[in-house]
Amino acid sequence: MPDNDSFSLFSSVKVVRDLMRRKLDDGASQAQGELEAGLQEIEALWEELRNQSHVLASERQRYSEFFEYAPDAYLITDSHGTVREANRAAAELLGVPARSLEGRPLVNMVPEPARRDFRARLVRASAQPEGEISAWRGALQGPQSAAFQAGFRVRALPVPDGGLASLCWLVRRVD
């Protein structure tokens, strides 16, 4: 795990630091060699951390591109259906910029008569066991577009330590 690797790197740099500090109080001739070794070690650790960051950044990039360029509308909401992230297809489907969807409750984009049903489905989707997908059809309406029939597929994401529950949504126009 990257976290553990990072942790071991931080421990290592502390070891080097303590070693160098101790040598300050020791005999000067010994201190010179220890300083040399310490500098080399810091350089090696630095290089390691930099490589690790490149790998992490590259992987994050790949998965965020997957999200962004998925051919269908893909949204991440909290358990109440408030949008946290939305991809390009979602923005196109609802006719608004993706950023303007963030913070907006999805239910606000459901025509009034269909809201009660939508809320009930949302509650069920949030409560379902991890890994299960809830699927249903219902009306949806972008802020500046006409209502249309949409197919929803919703799955709960595992709750991270100290984090909040999230739902991921696939939304497709079906009419």
Binding site: P2, S6, L24, L39, L49, R60, R62, Y63, P71, R153
Partner: protein
């Protein structure tokens, strides 16, 4: 930027080292050590943030409520999300390193290869096409395939994303 910081600190340490016999620059060395620690802590926070973001985006892939597979330019499978595993009815360990073509129905393989070649030749949107996949036990399923080439990553790996929609 950070490398410049490291170089500056190294310079300071080197000066301190040259003088350390007289203990004249013990304080300078102490400052350099503090700087290294501060820099390292900052890098640590950045790495943690990156790791959390990567973890979060990995989940978006793995748990997406639609099937997606990642192959290289030869169509060799690198990753598949849970929905893809369910669609093909195979465990994850079985997929890695296998050609995606083995899950495409025989009569659909020419079209599959043609689209793969198109995606590799000219990275850009390719129109989705109807196809048929077969699960590990040979059961056929009608699907729509949406193939999206992605930009190469830092290691020059050009990932192809295959979005499969069950239309049966």
């Amino acid at each position: 930027m950070r490398e410049a910081d490291l170089k500056r600190i190294q310079g300071r340490l080197a000066t301190a080292r040259a003088d350390v016999e007289g203990k004249a620059s013990a304080q300078e060395l102490e400052i350099a050590l503090e700087e290294i620690q501060a820099l390292w802590d900052e890098l640590g926070h950045q790495a943690d943030h990156l790791a959390r973001q990567r973890e979060r985006h990995t989940l978006f892939f793995e748990r997406a409520p639609f099937a997606c597979l990642i192959t290289d330019v030869h169509g060799t499978l690198r990753e598949a999300n849970l929905a893809a595993l369910a669609l093909l009815e195979v465990p994850a360990a079985y997929l890695h390193g296998k050609p995606l073509a083995i899950f495409i129905a025989d009569e659909e393989r020419d079209a599959f290869r043609m689209h793969l070649a198109m995606a590799v030749r000219s990275p850009g949107p390719i129109e989705a096409w109807q196809s048929r996949v077969k699960s590990a036990d040979g059961t056929p399923r009608e699907v729509t395939i949406d193939l999206r080439p992605m930009p190469p990553d830092a290691e020059n790996f050009l990932p192809l994303f295959w979005f499969l929609r069950d239309t049966g």
